[in-house]
Structures are given as structure tokens and as C-alpha cells.
């Protein structure tokens, strides 16, 4: 290091300039060579103390012959001592203090920065916790409309994507390492050869980012012959086409479920999937608990696979994918949508009349939600029904589309394939995505790509597409660079960097800028330049100088330890915080020019927007489109023969872009609890008819294309309908993704992207084990989940008490412990839980929970501290589903405590059941004696102690457990202790809801509430005194501090009678 010491700023590849180039030349180093670093000092280039030349290298050589015996003595002694140190050997590390500490950085105290996590263009505003420059945990941004303080699974897991060890690290040309400068030169030259951009095609995913959009438009203006294609495999294609059908124009639909008394989901998993689901689930739950839970909304769900939303429904009807549109037609007719005629032979006529009556009884206060996987026709019908029910503008709000340029993405990618065939594509720039893997199979992009002279690909992984491209540029993670993104309602968030890019990675905007100017600007300049232009127009609405004041105070609840304006300033410094030797700091250092620095008004607006995580009043305009088409002219869905095949995005890895995220791979799928694989979902009756068992390998023969998958007999699946999830079967993405599941894209064609008939299922005679975290999904007649209709609760508010056999408090030999300080407790509202699993992945991120892999899940050694038990009741064709999150119950009379021989699990004076990892010897008796089976054991060395990037993600406040020790939910004790320290500093008690557990904070529906039960006024105390409150397995007298609120549902009496009680 000592000769070719390069200052960090010189290595900032996104800041090329004469000065830098000079430095680079002087050091003789390629600017973008891969940099592996082992310490922050090495990364930042801080000079390490020189080792004395005659220091310790050869101790033995310095000993004279006389002292040879002494040497041997010492060796013997040290060998003996080495044996005593058991099995861990710590590497030598240097602790070097900051010479110039970054502003507001207090070692040991996290800092929080607002940004957003986009998923296919739609962003959720988040606040990211960083520890000395390392983003470790994502929390929701309470001010952001898509978050309201909660997070989706994908937002939570995004931090692991940042540290993904399989990310592409260097710019490559034909697989060989190149520099960023090489790339921009090559790209610039290739583009320059084209006449007005003729032959240049740009393929992006769905673009909602205003800045990137403006760049694309500028490129198309500058190079009028160039073509822009958009394609995302699981984008809202049908919503676009459906809006075109209904309104003749694209719209964005925002559902306001807090105003909806009756909701009809048409094959839509709106409570658990997508970045808008967090908001929708919150509104749904708030409405569901309205009026002391007596004024409850009602949810009907018709769907082609059992989803979290369907399981939550008061009435659920499994239906083949193709029949849902037929159902919607007849429903539209029953409701009286103009021009619609009932088919009169719908087998679900009773359902239709009941639902129609209920919807019409709530004019303007209902919502019909079509699924993204459904047909355009269904979307059009849903728009018509919503219009007829007076919902449009009330519960269903239409806005301008979020996309910069809404297109039919299937047509767009088809156009690209056509242009490739015609030899028109000279130069293809693929910004993100993996089209060779996920484009429709009939387009065969992996072969067509070979017809293009030069392909540039920018993506985070060197994936299946990258291997077919000439150039590959690593893409920055959203936490590494500047950018912007829109929420589900259009609200813009400036996404700020939280850490220096790990590798030679660059944003889409930066790559695209090569086409606009040379050399390209960096992302910050592009972004700020764009918003400076935008803001000028909106100066009158600017927030003004008062925005500065808003920067004071904590973003995270109770984070009062943070200094004023920490967010805003730290934000600007985000990209540089690692470098202790950094000179210029903040926006000034990176700003496009001094002239803008004088624009105080813009600066204040900018800082406030960056700090708050959203640009105020930036939501897209509401519109009131009229139904343009006569929907009776809609072609009726074709009659389906045989078994239909339905494609769906995976609830977690979506279209496959998150497939290399170990947290997501191991997160149990909501209903099946499957991990690490996708499956061929088929109903029990279909399986029986086909003579196929569970977890058997079958060959799906779909219109001449074949793929092998593994069966999963799924309750609640409609007969003769097989669902497969997209996103699996990667061959070249990363260690977690490769080989997991089968590739459903091999069957998916552009003419029927979501479903089609004519599927043949062929047996292979082989079986293949699928790893599920819950093998038994029946309740076995046990009173574990208490639920009833809201009417019953109204009649008999004490019905829960009659079902629970709780022993008297004095059935013990010992006197009760009196809690004089805090007594922590948790309440979990089963009515509110929608099984989205955000809590599980939040717990995993917060508590350094390892990923164990499929083999270990199969051996039942999953490590999740919190699990959501999903139970089914009733017939397997259409069961009732119940969700029960189960963390450690923190029993007052904990069975685990008295059986531990070494006192490794103890009761704390504030009611926690503490686990002392260092003391645990691993008898596992505690787990045997835990009736809730919430304890997790490190049977092997599950933690990854080797991969450097993963170490950075870990929460420094939580022990990283090694092999042989038991672990479990601690109620996020580190957060409690931080709260105690904070409140003690201020000489006060911890406020209500000041300390939140990770699961609570992530929960979209606020189903989990945690707090001090000793304070009467606290929310937790109120919930505990509710009549619905009950303890799981209360008869065991464990006296858990975690209790549940029984689930209430609101079935429709009319439908209930017809269904014979089969549902609810």
C-alpha cells in the first residue's frame, strides 16, 4: 500500500477530471480496478502505521543459539496456551480513531437517512439506519405515503442486496476487466458512429424516475432515430392495457381503502404484494378496526391461488384464472354497468348476487381491485364497476400515470425483437433487468441478442443477459448513489447515497449521460441539475427557509440523540462519510457549480426534500377519466379447455431480480411456507385426477415448450388450474439464486403473459423435496387461533374468555415478582395481521439472523426468531386461513428458564426472558421445554464469518451468534436498552411507543404493539385490557407477556347461509 497510496477521491470513478486522471496516471493504476478492502482504513486509503523493518517478523532468528532452549520453552508454552484458547482465533485489527470525524458521527450511535427503495419503478420511502457509514437496517419513513412508517418485505431486504457478495464488481468487455473510462469511450464512440441515433435501441425497465425519464427524453430528442423500449417481466402490463380499454388512456390507480366499507379483490394480492401494499394494508387494517372493531369492513376475494389477501378475506372463492373475468362480467351486469348483459349460466350466481347487493349497498364506499396478473379485460371491467358504484374519485382515485412514458411493455419488447430480426439494432443499451432470462420465451432474446453488433448492459449482477453482451457495467445499488423515484401516488423521493459504491458501479443516469455529454456528469450533478430546472418552475410553492427548521429533530421515533440538521447534512455527505481524510464535505463538494450555491431558496428546498425523504406536494395530479369504451364490445374470454397455466410473480423475489437475496429465498412464502424453490401449485382434486403426488417432479408441456417443476398440492387452489411462480431457475445470477427452483419464463409467451390453456402435465416418476418451514397447517382441534364473526363479538364480548382456560394467578408456590420499573409486553392483533412477512425479514435484519440454506430448512433448522404460523381450517378446496405471528412469548413463568443447567436463560427485572449467548453450552433443554417452540439453535456454524461484505450489514448492537448456542427473540432488547439510556439521560421514563421492536416498526398494519405494561395509559396496556386479549396456550400457566387479540371477521350473512358455513 505504501507506494501506490491513492487518495479516496482520486478513486472515485464517477468523478473523472483532469486532476483525477493525473493522479491515476501518476499511480499507474487503472481507475476502476477491483478494490477489495478489509478495513475502513484501507478503503479510505488512510495510511496505516508503518511496520518497523526489524520488528517482529522473525522472532526466532533474533535469538542467539544460547537462547534456543528458551525459545523452545516459549514455543511449548504458547502451544499449550494456544490449546486453551479453544476454537476461536481473532484476526489482528487496528483501532484507529477518526482524525477528522464526519459531522455528527458518534461512534456507537447510528445515524438515519431518508431515501427510497424502488421496485420496478414504484418506490417506498424508507429511513436507513447506518452505523459509521454502514447501512444496516431499513425502516419505514412515517412521512412517506407508501410507507407511513412501515416497510414492505422488499424494502426490508434491500439492504442485503447492497451487500450481496455476488454483485458485479468491475466493468467488463467480453468478460475481461475494463475501466469506466474505457467504457465511456467505447460507448461514446459506438453511439457517435450512428446517424442521429439510428440503430440505437435502449431497453429499460419501467421508468418512473423523473430524472432518468428526462434524460431518456433528452436522448431521444438529441438522437431522434433512437428507440426506447421498456420491459419488466412482472410489470403492470394488464393495468396499462385495461386502462387503455376502459379510458382510452393510461392511468395510475390509487385505492383509498380507509374509505372502503366493502372491498372485492379480483385475483389481487393487494395486501401483501407490491410497494403500494404497505399503504393499502394499513388502510385496510385501520378501517377493519374502526369503531372498536364493530364497524368492520368486509373483504371478498376471488382468486386463482390462495394468497395472503385471500386468506384474510371474509369470503373467498377459488376460481380459475380465466373465469375471474367471466365473473366480473356477470357482476358488472348485476350491478348494472351500462351495456353489460349477464351470461345467466354462471355457476357462482349466488355469490354474484350477494356481492353485487353488498357493493351496491355501499355506493361510493366500496372498491373493486383487479390483480396485476389478470387480463386487461378484467381491469377494464373493474374500472367500469368502480365507476358504476360511485367509487371512482372516492375509494378509487385515478391519477396521471407514474411512468415517464407509459407503454405496452409486451409490445415494446416485441418491437425490439422485431428490430433485431430486421437487423436494425446496431447498438443496444440495456439499463437494468435481465431480458435474456425473463423476456417472453417466444421472442428468444438470448439468440436475438447475438444479432446485435454491440450490446451494453448495466446491472447489479453479471447475469444471464450480461454473458451475452459485449460490455457490462456494474450498477449501483439505490443506497450507493443519487437518484429519484416515485411512490405509488407519484410522490418523489430523492434517493441519497448512504455509502460509497463498493465496486466500480454506476447508475443508469450516469451511463445514459454519456449520450448527452462527454465526459458524463456524475449522478449527483445530473439529479441536482434536473431538479434545479424543475424547481425553478415551482419556486412559488417552495417550502422556503423554514424547511431548515424541520431538519431538526429525529426522523426515527425518539431518536432525539441526533443533532439538528443531521439528516440533511449527513445526507449530502452520505457518499463520503467513509473517508476520514475527506476534505470538502457535503453538497458543496459535489455541487455542479458555485453559481447554484448562491440560490439559497433552492438549497433550502433541496435540503428539506433530501432530509424528509420526499418532495412535498410532488404527487402526480388526480384525474377523472371517463369510461370511454362500451365494454359490452369487449371480446368474451375464450372458453378454456383442459388445465390452465397461470404465471405469477413470486411474492418476494418478484420477477427474479431479487433471487440472489438469501433473506428472501429463505423467507417462507406466505401460504405454503415454501423456501428456496418455486413449485407447480395444483389443487388436491387435480392432483388426484392426474395421479400426481406431492413434491413430485412433473414435466409441464405448454404449447410445445417444456419445463420440469416440482408439484405442491395447495389447498385453496381452483381445480384444473396450475400456478407457477416466476423468478426462479437462474443459472448465472449468484450463489443463492442459481439452481433454486425452475425457470417458469421458459413457458411464458408474449401473447399470453399471465395465463393460457393447453397445459399437459407429464409425470417423470421422480420426486424432489421442497423445503417448507411449517409442515402441519391444520389446527388439530386446538384453541390456538381464536376467531369469530364480529356479530358474535357484539352479542357476547366475553366469548374469548369462555374459550381460554387460564389458571388462577395464585396457582404457584412462589410469590409473584413485583415489577417496579418497566414491564415489557407485546400485543399481536390477529385481525390486523395480513401475513406479509415484513416483520420476519425485519427481525432477520435487525438481529443478525443467519440464512441457513435449503438443506438446513429441510432439516428443520431455520433460524427465524419470528414466524407467522399459517393454519387452515375447513375443506382443502377452499379452507379458511389464519395467520399467527409467533415470537418468543417472554413468559413470566418461563418453562425454559428452570431447565437450563447453566443459567444461560434468565428472567430480567423488566419482564424479559433473556438469553445469555456466552453462557449457553447448548443442551437445548430450553427448546424442548418451550411449548411455543420459538427457540432457535445454531446446530452448525450458520453465520457467515467469511464473506466480508456480509459482515458490514450486521447490527453492531446485537451479538453475532456462533455455533452451538441457542438464540431467540429478545423483544429487540438492544432497542430497549438504547431507550433506557436515552431516557435516563433526560431523566424521564421511556415514552409510550418510543421503543419499538423491529417487527412492530415494520408491520404495515400495526398489528404488533410493544410497550411498558406498567403504564396504564400506554397503548399496550389498553390492548391488554381488551376483551379479545388472550394468551396462547394459557392453560400451561406460562403467563406470556406476548398475547394475542382474537381475530374478528365480518362475513356476509346472506353468503354465509348459502355457503353452508364453509367459509366463516
Amino acid at each position: 500500500m505504501k507506494q501506490d497510496f491513492i487518495p479516496l477521491e482520486a478513486l472515485r470513478a464517477n468523478k473523472p477530471g483532469p486532476a483525477n486522471t493525473a493522479v491515476l496516471k501518476a499511480t499507474g493504476r487503472e481507475p476502476s480496478s477491483p478494490r477489495y478492502w478489509r478495513s475502513l482504513e484501507e478503503l479510505s486509503g488512510a495510511k496505516l502505521p508503518e511496520r518497523e523493518p526489524d520488528g517482529e517478523p522473525d522472532f526466532a532468528a533474533k535469538l542467539s543459539e544460547k537462547s534456543r532452549r528458551r525459545f523452545l520453552e516459549l514455543m511449548g508454552a504458547s502451544l499449550g496456551l494456544a490449546g486453551l484458547t479453544a476454537c476461536t482465533r481473532q484476526p489482528t485489527e487496528f483501532i484507529v480513531p477518526y482524525a477528522q470525524p464526519p459531522e455528527n458521527a458518534i461512534p456507537g450511535r447510528p445515524m438515519h437517512f431518508a431515501t427510497a427503495v424502488p421496485v420496478d419503478g414504484i418506490a417506498q420511502g424508507v429511513i436507513v439506519e447506518t452505523h459509521l457509514g454502514r447501512p444496516t437496517k431499513v425502516e419505514g419513513n412515517p412521512a412517506h405515503p407508501s410507507s407511513l412508517g412501515a416497510t414492505s418485505v422488499l424494502s426490508q431486504s434491500s439492504v442485503l442486496d447492497l451487500y450481496d457478495p455476488d454483485r458485479a464488481r468491475v466493468v467488463t468487455y467480453l468478460g475481461n476487466q475494463r475501466s469506466w473510462d474505457d467504457f465511456i469511450n467505447a460507448f461514446h464512440q459506438s453511439a457517435g458512429l450512428l446517424q442521429a441515433g439510428a440503430g440505437l435501441h435502449i431497453l429499460t425497465q419501467t421508468v418512473c424516475s423523473p430524472t432518468l425519464g428526462s434524460q431518456l427524453k433528452a436522448v431521444l430528442e438529441a438522437l431522434p432515430q433512437a428507440k426506447w423500449h421498456q420491459y419488466h417481466p412482472t410489470g403492470a402490463h394488464s393495468a396499462y392495457s385495461g386502462a387503455q380499454l376502459a379510458f382510452g388512456r393510461p392511468v395510475n390507480t390509487v385505492y383509498r381503502l380507509d374509505r372502503a366499507d366493502v372491498i372485492l379483490g379480483l385475483d389481487s394480492d393487494f395486501l401483501a404484494c407490491g410497494q403500494a401494499s404497505t399503504r393499502m394494508a394499513r388502510e385496510f387494517a385501520v378501517r377493519r378496526r374502526q369503531g372498536n372493531r364493530l364497524d368492520m369492513n368486509r373483504l371478498y376475494v376471488i382468486e386463482s391461488i390462495l394468497t395472503s389477501t385471500g386468506g384474510k378475506a371474509d369470503h373467498r372463492l377459488p376460481m380459475r384464472w380465466a373465469d375471474v373475468e367471466v365473473f366480473a362480467r356477470d357482476l358488472a351486469a348485476a350491478i348494472g354497468v351500462k351495456g353489460m348483459a349477464a351470461s345467466n349460466n354462471n355457476p357462482h350466481q349466488q355469490w354474484i348476487s350477494a356481492v353485487a347487493a353488498d357493493l351496491m349497498a355501499h355506493y361510493g364506499a366500496s372498491a373493486v381491485i383487479p390483480g396485476d396478473h389478470q387480463s386487461p379485460g378484467l381491469h377494464a371491467l373493474a374500472h367500469a364497476i368502480n365507476a358504476a358504484l360511485g367509487n371512482a374519485g372516492n375509494t378509487v382515485v385515478y391519477t396521471q400515470p407514474l411512468e415517464v412514458q407509459p407503454v405496452d411493455q409486451i409490445a415494446s419488447i416485441r418491437d425490439l425483437a422485431g428490430a433485431m430480426d430486421a437487423g436494425q439494432v446496431q447498438l443496444l443499451l440495456i439499463l437494468g433487468g435481465n431480458p435474456a432470462y425473463d423476456a417472453p420465451a417466444d421472442l428468444d432474446l438470448s439468440n436475438r441478442l447475438k444479432k446485435v453488433r454491440t450490446v451494453f448492459h448495466v446491472s447489479q449482477h453479471f447475469n444471464e443477459t450480461s454473458v451475452l453482451c459485449n460490455w457490462h457495467v456494474p450498477e449501483t445499488h439505490v443506497f450507493e448513489d443519487w437518484g429519484d423515484a416515485r411512490a405509488h401516488d407519484g410522490t418523489v423521493t430523492i434517493t441519497q447515497p448512504l455509502i460509497e459504491p463498493f465496486y466500480d458501479a454506476h447508475s443508469h443516469a450516469q451511463v445514459l449521460d454519456v449520450l448527452l455529454q462527454f465526459p458524463p456528469r456524475n449522478s449527483y450533478e445530473i439529479l441536482r441539475g434536473y431538479w434545479m430546472g424543475e424547481h425553478t418552475g415551482a419556486r412559488g410553492q417552495g417550502p422556503g427557509a423554514s424547511g431548515r427548521g424541520a431538519a431538526a429533530g429525529g426522523q426515527r421515533l425518539g431518536a432525539s440523540g441526533r443533532g439538528p440538521a443531521a439528516g440533511g447534512q449527513g445526507a449530502a455527505a452520505g457518499g463520503q462519510r467513509l473517508g476520514a481524510s475527506q476534505g470538502p464535505e457535503g453538497a458543496r463538494g459535489q455541487g455542479p457549480g458555485a453559481s447554484q450555491g448562491t440560490d439559497f431558496e433552492f438549497e433550502a428546498w433541496w435540503r428539506k426534500s433530501v432530509h424528509d425523504g420526499l418532495i412535498a406536494d410532488s404527487a402526480v395530479a388526480e384525474i377523472k377519466p371517463a369510461i370511454a369504451a362500451d365494454l359490452s364490445q369487449l371480446p368474451a374470454p375464450a372458453q378454456r379447455n383442459g388445465i390452465e397455466l397461470v404465471f405469477r410473480a413470486d411474492p418476494y423475489i418478484n420477477g427474479g431480480e431479487y433471487a440472489n437475496n438469501g433473506w428472501l429465498q429463505e423467507l417462507p412464502r406466505p401460504m405454503t411456507k415454501l423456501t428456496w424453490d418455486n413449485a407447480v401449485h395444483l389443487s388436491p382434486a387435480t392432483a388426484k385426477r392426474l395421479g400426481i403426488g406431492d413434491q413430485r417432479v412433473v414435466r409441464l408441456n405448454y404449447r410445445g415448450r417444456k419445463v420440469e417443476g416440482v408439484t405442491w398440492i395447495a389447498p385453496g387452489q381452483p381445480d384444473d388450474s396450475i400456478t407457477i411462480h416466476l423468478g426462479y431457475g437462474h443459472t448465472n445470477l449468484g450463489r443463492a439464486a442459481n439452481g433454486a427452483g425452475f425457470n417458469a419464463y421458459l413457458l411464458r409467451t408474449s401473447d399470453s403473459p399471465w395465463s393460457g390453456d393447453g397445459l399437459q402435465v407429464e409425470k417423470t416418476g421422480r420426486s424432489f423435496p421442497l423445503a417448507t418451514t411449517q409442515m402441519q397447517q391444520t389446527l388439530e382441534g386446538r384453541t390456538l387461533v381464536i376467531e369469530d364473526a364480529v356479530g358474535r363479538y357484539q352479542q357476547d364480548p366475553d366469548f374469548v374468555k369462555h374459550l381460554v382456560d387460564e389458571p388462577e394467578p395464585d396457582t404457584t408456590l412462589y410469590p409473584a415478582w413485583s415489577y417496579t420499573g418497566y414491564l415489557w409486553g407485546m400485543s399481536i392483533d390477529l385481525t390486523a395481521c395480513v401475513n406479509c412477512n415484513a416483520c420476519v425479514v425485519a427481525c432477520q435484519a435487525e438481529n443478525n439472523i443467519p440464512v441457513v440454506g435449503k438443506e438446513q430448512i429441510l432439516s428443520r433448522r431455520g433460524m427465524h426468531w419470528l414466524r407467522i404460523d399459517t393454519y387452515y381450517k375447513g375443506a382443502a378446496e377452499n379452507p379458511q386461513a389464519f395467520y399467527q405471528p409467533v415470537p418468543c412469548m417472554q413468559c413470566e413463568k418461563a418453562p425454559c428458564e428452570l431447565v437450563c443447567p447453566v443459567q444461560a436463560t434468565q428472567h430480567s427485572s423488566d419482564g424479559l426472558n433473556d438469553m445469555v449467548y456466552n453462557r449457553c453450552i447448548g443442551t437445548r433443554y430450553c427448546s424442548n421445554n418451550c411449548p411455543y417452540k420459538v427457540r432457535r439453535f445454531n446446530f452448525l456454524l450458520f453465520q457467515d464469518w467469511v464473506t466480508d461484505t456480509l459482515k458490514l450489514q450486521r447490527n453492531p448492537d446485537v451479538s453475532v451468534r456462533s455455533r452451538g448456542v441457542m438464540e431467540k427473540c429478545t423483544y429487540c432488547v438492544q432497542r430497549i436498552r438504547q431507550g433506557e439510556i436515552r431516557s435516563a439521560d433526560e431523566n424521564r421514563y421511556i415514552h409510550d411507543l418510543e421503543v419499538q421492536t423491529a417487527c412492530q416498526q415494520a408491520c404495515p398494519t400495526q398489528a404488533i404493539v410493544f410497550g411498558d405494561m406498567n403504564q396504564r395509559a400506554n397503548r399496550i396496556s389498553q390492548l391488554k385490557s381488551e376483551k379479545l386479549n388472550y394468551a396462547l396456550l394459557a392453560e400451561l400457566n406460562t403467563r406470556p407477556n406476548t398475547t394475542y387479540l382474537a381475530e374478528l371477521r365480518n362475513p356476509n350473512p346472506a353468503l354465509n347461509a348459502q355457503n353452508g358455513g364453509g367459509r366463516g
Partner: protein, 468 residues
């Protein structure tokens, strides 16, 4: 008439009645001593069976060492353990070995106090069996630990952490119970062996064995004062060991009964476990005794009467066990507790039902053959029945542990247990350890108590054998 002839004279008297003698007729002090001491002292008396046993045992020990190395290096995850079944083969095998030890103590201490003379010819190796079984048992709780290198934390010792074991945990009681048991058994065994070791010292043909047995015999000269002290110490230790027969397995059963788990949380467990322990212990005594008797030609010292008595004790304890098997479903039904009822149902008809019915078959049905005298006195069927009981008792512990754990309160946590090859290696490896230890004992120590057998001879009775 020489002393020798006089001894023969007394033993030649016909036996009144048809009960087989404890010692076959025609024995003298010298003959008994020569016969027993020839095994440790003379190489040529070692039968081929001994070499075969050692070969098999060492092979299994090798497997055991490989398994243990892998286990310590990698973690208990190589076994079939999981959540919810966090105890598996190691604890099953621990309880099994501890149980086996019990018969030895019962024979040597309990029957000594009850003044049962027939115990004399089998107590030595029954005690050895106890020692080795406890050694094998003692390894398993450590092998089963997640962090075996800190196993000593379970002991109360002064430490800088000023932390003591948690005395409410039955695992701590286990440590005390088993270590006490081991200490008392070892002392008792060794103390009883001192006069015989002195005999071997006196009979030894070379310096090495003279030194070896000389050191071990602590200068025993056979003085009457020695004998008096020896007798007193033996009685005291027998008095100490006798309650241990009942207490150790009672404490082991507490490992289960203290837990709130259905299938474990039961008051019948202490007698149930003690009966089961003695049952399996006698099965092991017979499994060891019958081949050794045949291989070393010990029919004259271990007679049909010993075998018959062991078989009868086995049958008795087996019936006690059958009773507890029968009472378990009744208790579950009578309690009305849904979890207990579900457990009984799951044991009998769940995925591990084969263990339940296997236990019934091996421990209850097949041993009923012992009502027939032929099966009690003929060695081959008895050996087979004993092996079946040993397997049945292992299966019983497997059933208690696995079927209770794998389906407890919350169905969401239910799982199936599948052992790995390493689980089986551990079990068979420990059997190898036992075989090797026992073979070494048979080869180098007096496997039958010479002085006690000599006491059985009519000649040593008051009056020189004038009465039986």
C-alpha cells in the same frame, strides 16, 4: 486325606432336591482359583471369540473416533437434531447405557444386602458392565452439547464469573447422580477386586504382571484384619450403592418429568425408568454372560441357576414395565388433557408408530416366553430374547424422546425426525467402546470373584461343608 481331597469329598455329596446348584459339584479352592486366574495370567487360555470381539470392538471404536472428531469439528448439526426434536440419539443412548448399568449395581449391592449367595459368581463382571456402561453413557451428554468444550460449566466450581449452575435444572442433578453413581460403583468394584488382585499377584508368572497386580492390590496380605475391614467397607459401599440403584434412574427420569412436554411430564416416570433400567441391565448381563460362559468354559461356576434367576428377574421387571405402558394411555384418557391424548394417539398411530409397536413387541410380548422354563435355561433362545429386550429398551427411550418432541403443543412446529448416519455411528461406536473395555477387563482382571466363589464352596461353610 489332603485338604484337596477333603474339599472334593464335601462337594461330591448328591444334591438334595432338583434345584441346580450355585456351583457345580467337584470344585475345590484351588481349582476355582486356577480356573479364574488363568485368564489374566495365561495367554493360551484366551478363546478365539475374545479376539473376534476385540476386532469388532476396535473397528467400532475407530468409527466412533472419526464421528466424534467430525462432531466436535463441525457441530451437532451433523446429527439428525433439529427444532423441535432437539434431543435425539445421544440422549436416547445416554439413558439406555445408564439403564444398563443398573443391573450390575443391583446384583452386587442389592443382592449382597439381601444375602443372595448366587450373585457371587456373576457380580464382578456385572459391576464391570456397570462401570463401562456408565462410561459410555457419560460421553453422550457431552457429545450432545452444542459447545462441548465448555461442558464443565455445568459443575459447581469457584470461578471468576461468580456464577453457579442452576440447581433447579434436572440436568445438574443428573451430573451429580451419574457422577456419584460412577464413583461409588468404581470404588465398590475395585474394593471387591483387591483380594483377587492379590491372588493374581501371588500367582503371577512374570515381573510385569507381578508389578501390575501388585500395585493394584495395595499390599493385600489376606490378614484377618484386612478381611474384616474389607467386609465392613464392602457392606458400607453396598449400603451406599443400593439406594443409587433406585435414585440414579429416578433422577434421569426427572430430565423428562420436570419438562412440561406431554409424554414427558408424568409422575410414573421414576418407577417406570428404574424398572426399565434393571430390565435392560439384566438383558445386558445375559448377553455378556452367556457367550463368556461358553467361550471360557465357566459352566461350573455360572450354572443354570444363575441364568434362570437372571431370566426371572428380567421377566419380573418386564412385567412392571408392561404395567406402566398400560397405565400411560389410561392416565392420558383420565386426565382429559387434549395434548396428552393427542400424544398417546400419535405414539400409537403417528409417523413413528413403528417404535411404539416395536417397543410393545420387544419389551412386552416376546419376553413373555420367559414364563416357559425352556426359554429361561437354554442359552441360545435366552440370548436372543435378551438382545431383543436391549433393542426394545433403546427403542423405548427413542419413542419417549422423539415422539414426545416431534409433535407437541403447536402443530405449526411439528416435524419429523430423521436420524443421520452419524447418529448411528455414535450409537454403534459407543457399543464398540463398551466391547473393547469389557474385553480388556475379561482379559486382564479376574472376571469372576475368586474369593467369593470360594466362599460358596461347601467346604468353607462352618463345619466344613457338613450342610449345604
Amino acid at each position: 486325606m489332603t485338604v484337596e481331597e477333603k474339599q472334593l469329598e464335601t462337594t461330591r455329596r448328591p444334591e438334595p432336591g432338583d434345584a441346580p446348584a450355585v456351583i457345580a459339584p467337584g470344585q475345590t479352592f484351588g481349582a476355582v482359583t486356577a480356573q479364574i486366574s488363568s485368564v489374566p495370567l495365561l495367554r493360551r487360555t484366551i478363546p478365539p471369540l475374545w479376539y473376534i470381539a476385540v476386532a469388532i470392538g476396535l473397528a467400532l471404536v475407530l468409527i466412533f473416533l472419526v464421528t466424534v472428531s467430525y462432531l466436535f469439528g463441525t457441530g451437532v448439526g451433523i446429527l439428525g437434531l433439529q427444532i423441535p426434536v432437539a434431543w435425539g440419539y445421544p440422549i436416547t443412548t445416554f439413558v439406555w447405557w445408564i439403564g444398563i448399568g443398573h443391573a450390575g449395581t443391583l446384583i452386587s449391592a442389592f443382592l449382597l444386602l439381601l444375602n443372595q449367595p448366587w450373585r457371587s459368581s456373576i457380580n464382578r463382571f456385572a459391576e464391570a458392565m456397570t462401570i463401562f456402561a456408565v462410561i459410555c453413557a457419560g460421553m453422550f451428554p457431552i457429545l450432545h452439547l452444542g459447545r462441548p468444550w465448555v461442558a464443565y460449566w455445568i459443575l459447581p466450581y469457584p470461578n471468576t464469573m461468580t456464577i453457579q449452575p442452576q440447581f433447579r435444572s434436572p440436568l445438574v442433578w443428573d451430573v451429580f447422580a451419574v457422577s456419584t453413581y460412577f464413583t461409588v460403583s468404581l470404588l465398590f468394584w475395585y474394593l471387591g477386586m483387591i483380594p483377587d488382585l492379590a491372588t493374581l499377584r501371588d500367582q503371577s508368572k512374570n515381573r510385569f504382571s507381578y508389578a501390575f497386580y501388585g500395585i493394584l492390590s495395595w499390599g493385600w496380605r489376606g490378614a484377618s484384619r484386612h478381611w474384616r475391614l474389607h467386609e465392613t467397607a464392602s457392606l458400607l459401599l453396598a449400603g451406599l450403592a443400593t439406594p443409587l440403584v433406585l435414585s440414579v434412574h429416578t433422577v434421569v427420569s426427572f430430565d423428562f418429568t420436570i419438562a412440561i412436554l406431554p409424554g414427558w411430564h408424568s409422575t410414573i416416570f421414576p418407577p417406570y425408568f428404574v424398572a426399565g433400567a434393571i430390565y435392560s441391565g439384566f438383558a445386558m448381563v445375559l448377553v455378556l454372560m452367556l457367550p463368556i460362559r461358553a467361550a471360557f468354559g465357566l459352566d461350573n461356576l455360572i450354572t443354570e441357576r444363575h441364568i434362570n434367576n437372571c431370566a426371572k428377574l428380567m421377566l419380573t421387571t418386564g412385567l412392571i414395565l408392561a404395567y406402566t405402558y398400560a397405565i400411560e394411555p389410561f392416565t392420558a384418557w383420565y386426565s382429559g388433557d387434549q395434548f396428552e391424548i393427542a400424544l398417546v394417539h400419535n405414539r400409537a398411530f403417528g409417523p413413528h408408530a413403528w417404535t411404539y409397536w416395536g417397543v410393545i413387541l420387544c419389551n412386552v410380548l416376546i419376553p413373555q416366553l420367559l414364563w416357559i422354563r425352556r426359554f429361561r435355561v437354554r442359552t441360545k433362545p435366552l440370548f436372543a430374547i435378551s438382545v431383543v429386550i436391549l433393542y426394545g429398551m433403546w427403542l423405548e427411550r427413542y419413542m419417549i424422546i422423539i415422539t414426545s418432541l416431534h409433535r407437541d403443543f403447536l402443530p405449526s412446529a411439528w416435524a419429523n425426525f430423521i436420524a443421520t448416519v452419524w447418529d448411528n455411528f455414535l450409537v454403534f461406536g459407543s457399543i464398540g467402546v463398551f466391547i473393547v473395555l469389557f474385553a480388556l477387563f475379561v482379559r486382564f482382571l479376574p472376571m469372576i470373584s475368586m474369593y467369593e466363589v470360594r466362599e460358596l464352596l461347601p467346604f468353607s461353610r462352618p463345619g466344613g461343608g457338613s450342610e449345604k
